[in-house]
């Protein structure tokens, strides 16, 4: 039994790495989503092209290949990254490309009349975006952002391939040391599920909080 608690410690260490990757990757993804999503809606054509190129490239290629580029190819170009940095970069850029389309769609879903009210009140484009459009669009984005974050959490498992000791990596270690497959993998199955559940719970709560008052019900 002692032996198992040691192995559990190992898996929990890995769980921490997975959490770290998820948080940092999501933060980068969020920034990229807004940059590229709003970039695609820009009046300036070069910004639109840049954003489109980013989105299409990172959606159109495998996260696995992107990760290998970040970790093995960028050093050859003079950008050496730690496994964690490479993992965060690949995950953030990949999921950010998907989430950028969420940002764009949500911004477009806000009615034309809200933009017209902005004009009539003489707000400039940025003020209108910042105070009127984005707060309303953000509520529309949230459920899909929650999805994206869970996707990102599950995609963190690929970083074990660049020797980053995340949860999946540690489960492999335990498996090779004990010869037991069921216990380590059942453990991480539950841990992934628990993390994903925590994520969706958090997003739902945020959603409820932000939507308060919008439907006429004062909670």
């Amino acid at each position: 039994m002692d032996q198992w608690s040691g192995y559990l410690g190992l898996i929990l260490q890995g769980a921490w790495v997975t959490i770290e990757l998820t948080i940092l990757g999501s933060a980068l993804a969020l920034v990229m989503a807004f940059l590229a999503g709003l970039g695609r809606l820009s009046k300036l054509a070069p910004l639109r092209w840049l954003a489109t190129a980013y989105i299409e490239f990172f959606r159109g290629t495998s996260i696995f290949v992107q990760l290998f580029w970040a970790y093995f190819v960028l050093p050859l170009l003079g950008v050496p990254l730690s496994p964690l940095q490479a993992g965060v970069l690949a995950l953030g850029l990949n999921v950010g490309a998907y989430a950028a389309e969420v940002v764009r769609g949500a911004v477009l879903s806000v009615g034309k009349e809200q933009y017209e009210a902005c004009v009539a009140l003489n707000l400039n484009r940025w003020q209108c975006m910042r105070h009127i459009i984005l707060p309303q669009a953000f509520i529309v984005m949230l459920p899909t952002f929650g999805n994206n974050a869970i996707e990102l959490l599950k995609a963190t498992a690929v970083v074990s391939l660049i020797s980053l000791a995340d949860m999946t990596f540690q489960a492999q270690v335990v498996r090779s040391q004990t010869g037991n497959t069921l216990i380590p993998f059942a453990t991480i199955l539950l841990l992934y599920f628990a993390m994903a559940s925590a994520l969706s719970w958090g997003v739902r709560r945020l959603e409820r909080k932000l939507a308060r008052g919008l439907d006429g019900v004062r909670a």
Partner: protein, 269 residues
């Protein structure tokens, strides 16, 4: 059909000069011209599709124009002079010009994520750099004027249509525009809520010297409220004059036919 004589020596605050506007193949405004004197209350009436809402939206810079010129308070609205020639104005110019004009919409267009008071104070704080405390004091005065002070903390979704529209009026007034545009502001309201909005507008007309243009289907209100009626049809002004003349003695056949239809539909003038 501009009755320049009626305006006399006062410089018009709005001068619409041969404005044309097409939506695809549909010519919405056809060389439309008219003038408005400062402080004048004008009602724009006519069948739907006649261009009355479009000219209001053009004055608010919500549409572009195909040709013609508009002067507002002595400056060109859509043009600036460069090397003695009028060229299309940039956003900065439009921004300056919009300070003179406010608009109230048929569907209120309140910001659903902001409280009633925040709806009213947002633009003064952002565009006039007003201090929040000052903006809120002024906002409460305006809400009081439209009878909505007790709902200052409510969200728009908690209000009735009439209440929303009164908040929207306060919101537009918060920027102290010289000209207010009202686009069918009672058309989306339940009949029993129309009067509370019209009362606010009557009060506004009585207490301020703002220039007001309103598009309406409420003929009796237009009759009481307006100094002058413009009857639109086919993107032009077919007939204009004092409410008494237009409603009791319309000269043009199309005006007569329109008013006959309105009366047949049950409205009293």
């Amino acid at each position: 059909m501009v009755l320049a004589g009626e305006i006399g020596v006062v410089q018009p605050i709005i001068k619409v000069d041969r404005i044309s506007k097409n939506f695809g193949a549909f010519q919405c405004l056809n060389e439309l011209s008219f003038e408005v004197a400062p402080g004048e209350k004008i009602a724009l009436i006519g069948p739907s599709g006649s261009g009355k809402t479009t000219i209001l939206r053009i004055l608010m810079t919500l549409e572009t124009i195909n040709s013609g010129h508009i002067e507002v308070d002595g400056d060109q609205l859509y043009h600036v002079e460069r090397n003695g020639q009028l060229v299309a104005a940039d956003e900065a110019h439009l921004h300056r010009m919009r300070q003179k004009i406010g608009m109230v919409f048929q569907l209120f267009n309140l910001f659903p994520h902001k409280s009633v008071l925040d709806n009213v104070t947002l633009a003064p704080i952002l565009t006039k750099k007003m201090k929040r405390a000052d903006a809120e004091r002024r906002g409460m005065e305006l809400l009081d004027m439209v009878g909505m002070a007790d709902k200052a903390k409510a969200m728009p979704a908690q209000l009735s249509g009439g209440q929303k529209q009164r908040v929207a009026i306060a919101r537009a007034l918060a920027l102290s525009p010289k000209i207010m545009l009202f686009d069918e502001v009672t058309s989306a309201l339940d009949p029993e809520l129309v009067e509370e909005v019209l009362n606010v507008m009557r009060k506004l007309a009585a207490e301020t010297d703002m220039t007001m243009l309103l598009v309406t289907h409420e003929m009796s209100f237009a009759n009481d409220f307006a100094d002058r009626i413009l009857f639109f049809d086919g993107g032009r002004i077919v007939e204009e004059g004092k409410p008494g003349e237009i409603f009791r003695h319309p000269k043009q056949e199309r005006t007569q036919a329109f008013l006959k239809k309105i009366i047949a539909a049950g409205q009293r003038i």
